[in-house]
């Protein structure tokens, strides 16, 4: 299959890639760009671990073609923390204030176990909170229903999202 040169805007940076038309965004993120914070599992939009934001909307990147993401703003878990000068590079210990309120809340509420579903979970929550800053528990559960977690039973995840919503809505930290 012929390859196409595409430009993707990922986490506020421009990336170029040479891809076949049938390559998924997930595959390009992980294999071509080394952004493995976006996870892979069912490849059929059933589990949600591959969730990323495209123009602010949560999508399953396993079924989203990379070519279709051109000209759109893509956010992965690596780009969620507020952009800051001098942000620690990958692998370094991040200072707590370099985390997004959702990331911090997931830590504070014990919402992380194996952690494999967490990037997708956090991005689904982010997309929802951006549209619904003061959700009820039922709304949070509805918003996260497409993200499977097998470790936590979801309770601490839901609590973390509600706490992050409070903090974000209080305006203490810009999202």
């Amino acid at each position: 299959m012929a390859k196409l040169a595409i430009t993707l805007e990922i986490n506020r940076e421009s990336h170029e890639a040479l891809v076949e038309a049938d390559r998924t965004l997930l595959d390009v993120l992980r294999s071509d760009l080394g952004l493995t914070g976006t996870k892979t599992n069912c490849l059929d939009a059933e589990c949600g671990v591959c969730t990323v934001l495209v123009d602010g909307l949560a999508v399953n990147s396993c079924l989203y073609l990379a070519v279709a993401a051109q000209g759109r703003a893509i956010t992965t878990i690596e780009g969620l923390a507020p952009a800051r000068e001098g942000l620690a590079p990958a692998g370094a210990g991040l200072a707590a204030d370099a985390l997004h309120p959702l990331q911090q809340a997931f830590i504070d509420h014990g919402a992380v176990q194996c952690g494999y579903c967490i990037p997708g979970m956090i991005l689904s929550a982010k997309a929802y909170l951006d549209e619904h800053p003061r959700p009820t528990e039922a709304q949070v559960r509805e918003a996260l229903a497409g993200n499977l977690c097998r470790c936590t039973g979801y309770q601490k995840i839901v609590d973390a999202v509600l706490a992050a919503a409070d903090r974000m809505a209080a305006g203490t930290v810009a999202s």
Binding site: E78, A81, L94, F106
Partner: protein, 757 residues
């Protein structure tokens, strides 16, 4: 929250959390090497057949294909934890749909998949053994004609399609029936279910020029995988390095070798690093799920509700190879006894071959199935005798100093407290609060698996502490718990500790992430290492502080004495200059649990070590029209001994219950004619945020004698009771008992309309 401790007993955030919320944590599925190929496995399409022809020549010549291997390319060995019955690739006979027959490595995944499609296999069907009844029928075809030739653990009781019969015999059940006023007999069934970890099984293997292979995999047991690879690759184990970069859930499904051997064999053949990762379809057709079971349970009881005897048989459909079956069948007999005083027992667990995928271990193996039968029947008995189910249990539960079924003496028994507190929290005895609404109770006990653990602990020259362990952080935060134990003992903060783990070359041995043992065993190894470090630190500081060692203590990152103090950082720096660094090796092996050897037969797990006790209570409604179950409240009271980190213990309880609810209400790997009908995550229905209620955790603390600060294993227990608790509540709500898992809406509607029960 613990009084008098600085670190243990406190809900501190797990030490690996930042990497997991930022996407920086690397899992095995993320791992890649330059020049890496992609491996795929060619699998049997027949449940039972003779492989008459396998032609890989076309596939081998395709563009991008670098290696094709089949039985002809690997040593003719069979492997297995209890029975060595499984070949790497089928050579003459295939025994389940999904059994590996060949494997390919290619420069892209697409090329590897194309090569699979070009492999030709011709089969001659043999009569398949499709379920337990067929396998156990007189004259049934044998899944393994040559079963007697296989090497196995010597004590196993094997016979044809039965790859173990484990037994507990106590007293005389005939006398027990004679003493009983009523004898109850029931049959229960449970379905095959998958662990449902979100990260597929994955491995990357690379050989170096000296003939050593390194395998990065998401195994729970790196040292076991190393040993299995030594057999399969026919090289010595020191030539095999297994590293676990990170693991996205396991729940027992990643205990045994899964894809590591395919990666290593393909890498050897191709001379390139190779990655093999499963698909969801492979997971649901060719992994190590929980065995489906049939359980026959007969219990005698006096009019006033005293248990006189129990006879139980649980049959495990263990699939085409023994896998964990022989051990699971053993453990099951302890669960069938229940945490009850019963003077006469005759309990049997059978692991049975069928032409299905090889079943394995899944969080509390055998626990949910056997407990479902025991605790369902306790409610049936209670109702028949007109005794409240709580009261019936209180009259029979074990207490401090009682004997377990095999004669072990029980200690730190927090069961009555768990039962009473769970019942209180759910609002017992108001068991039927309204139409279509009911409450259920279930209790159980479980083990803290032994095995040895070693750690190296080093004080760094800046005063921080490196914990080097062969254990795997499977996600429970068990290594955070162990690090809390270490921090407490050394007088440092949790934040001072970094963990290096799970590398068979550089980390000390650990029995692995199984059996609720990691925080327990690694925590104790940390205590031993801390004691050794303390001795060294105090000896080194004594002269400088001018005080005898007995007058010194470790506190606030210093050795503190009556005349002054000196920091751990200074002592570590001094040691680096003069003594090779401040380091200690701590080890732990759980002491054996004494039991009566005359009571058991074919039994590979005859006692529960540092047992935990627990009670679950649920309040739910059932819509009789639709069969929909709505859970209003779910309570777990679990005796954890000592809560090293309450938040993550709650996490274990919440997650274990959620997983248990899936097995109870919706999950089933559906086989028809030897083929799985629902090998995808839409039709294999795991609970979502909308299906799991809030769960109230009550942490009961009756400290054990062995675990760190009295801690007991906590990971598996919450998975044991959900099926029984929910089944009992549904029965209370409907007045109809459903005895087969999963309790789907369809079964509920059929039952309420007078159909199948």
């Amino acid at each position: 929250m613990s009084v008098g401790t600085r670190v243990v007993g406190h809900s501190l955030p797990r030490i690996d959390a930042p990497g997991k919320v930022t996407g920086r944590a690397v899992y095995a599925a993320d791992f890649a090497l330059p020049g890496m190929l992609y491996g795929k496995v060619f699998r049997s399409t027949e449940p039972h057949a003779r492989l008459v022809r396998l032609d890989t020549t076309h596939a081998a010549g395709m563009a991008g294909v670098r290696a094709v291997i089949s039985a002809a390319d690997v040593p003719d060995i069979r492997y297995g934890a209890a029975v060595r019955d499984e070949p790497v690739f089928a050579s003459d006979i295939v025994r389940y749909v999904g059994q590996p027959v060949a494997a390919v490595a290619a420069v892209t995944l697409e090329a590897a998949e194309a090569a699979l499609a070009a492999i030709e296999a011709v089969y001659e069907p043999l009569p398949p053994v499709l379920d337990l009844a067929a396998a156990l029928a007189p004259g049934a075809p044998l899944v393994h004609e040559a079963w007697q030739s296989y090497t196995a653990i010597p004590i196993l009781q094997r016979d044809g399609n039965v790859c173990n019969r484990a037994r507990i015999m106590v007293g005389d059940v005939e006398r027990g029936w004679a003493e009983a006023d009523r004898v109850f007999e029931h049959r229960f069934t449970t379905a095959m279910v998958h662990q449902g970890y979100t990260e597929p099984r994955a491995a990357v293997a690379a050989w170096d020029s000296s003939g050593q292979v390194t395998v990065w995999s998401n195994t729970q047991l790196p040292f076991d995988v190393q040993a299995a690879l030594a057999d399969i690759l026919a090289i010595t184990s020191s030539k095999i390095r297994v590293i676990v970069p990170g693991i996205g859930g396991g729940f027992g499904g990643k205990l045994r070798i899964g894809v590591e051997h395919f990666a290593a064999l393909l890498a050897r053949k191709s001379g390139r690093p190779v990655k093999v990762m499963t698909t969801s379809e492979e997971e649901l057709t060719a992994a190590y799920p929980r065995q489906g079971t049939v359980i026959e349970l007969k219990t005698g009881v006096t009019r006033d509700g005293r248990l006189t005897a129990r006879q139980g048989r649980i049959y495990f459909d263990t699939g085409a190879f023994a896998g964990s079956g022989p051990g699971v069948a053993s453990v099951a007999t302890l669960v069938l006894a229940g945490p009850y005083r019963t003077p006469n027992l005759h309990l049997e667990g059978y692991a049975v071959y069928t032409n299905k995928t090889n079943c394995g271990s899944y969080r509390a193996p055998s626990g949910p199935q056997a407990n479902f039968a025991v605790e369902s029947q306790m409610d049936i008995i209670a109702d028949a005798l007109g005794i409240d189910p709580l009261e019936l249990r209180l009259r029979n539960i074990v207490h401090e100093g009682d004997e377990g079924p095999t004669g072990q003496v029980l200690s730190a028994v927090g069961l009555e407290e768990c039962l009473r507190r769970a019942a209180d929290a759910i609002g017992w005895p108001d068991r039927r609060p309204g139409p279509g609404r009911g409450k259920g109770l279930a209790i159980g006990w479980w083990t803290t698996t032994g095995g040895s653990s070693g750690v190296y602990v080093k004080i760094n020259p800046d005063g921080t502490v490196a914990l080097n362990t062969g254990a795997v952080e499977i996600g429970t935060a068990a290594l955070t718990g162990a690090a809390q134990v270490l921090a407490e003992a050394l007088g440092v903060d949790l934040a001072d500790i970094t963990v290096v783990s799970a590398d068979t070359f550089s980390t000390p041995f650990d029995f692995g992430a199984q059996g609720s043992r990691t925080a327990f065993a690694v925590g104790n190894a940390c205590r031993a290492a801390a004691a050794e470090l303390s001795r060294k630190l105090l000896a080194q500081a004594a002269a400088q502080l001018g005080s005898p060692e007995e007058a010194l203590t470790l506190r606030d990152k210093h050795v503190v004495g009556p005349s002054g103090r000196i920091s751990l950082a200074d002592l570590a720096r001094q040691s680096q200059q003069a003594g090779g660094g401040m380091i200690a090796h701590g080890t732990f092996i759980a002491p054996g649990t004494a039991y009566d050897t005359k009571r058991v037969e074919g039994h590979v797990y005859p006692a529960f070590h540092s047992p935990s006790f627990h009670a679950h209570a649920v309040d739910l409604s059932v819509d009789e029209e639709t069969g929909e179950v709505t859970i209003h409240k779910y309570v777990v009271a679990q005796d954890v001994g000592f809560a090293l980190n309450p938040t993550y213990i709650e996490g274990q309880i919440e997650g274990g219950v959620a997983q248990g609810l899936g097995q109870t209400l919706s999950e089933e790997i559906v086989y028809r004619d030897g083929r799985v009908l629902n090998a995808n995550l839409t039709d294999y229905k795991m609970p979502t945020t909308l299906d799991v209620p809030r769960i109230e955790s009550i942490l009961v603390e009756h400290p054990g004698q062995v675990g760190p600060f009295g801690a007991k294993g906590v990971g598996e227990p919450p998975n044991v009771e959900p099926p029984a608790a929910v089944a009992n509540a549904i029965a209370a709500a409907l007045g109809v008992r459903i005895t087969s898992l999963p309790i789907t809406a369809e079964k509920i509607v059929q039952a309420t309309q007078g159909g199948a029960r």
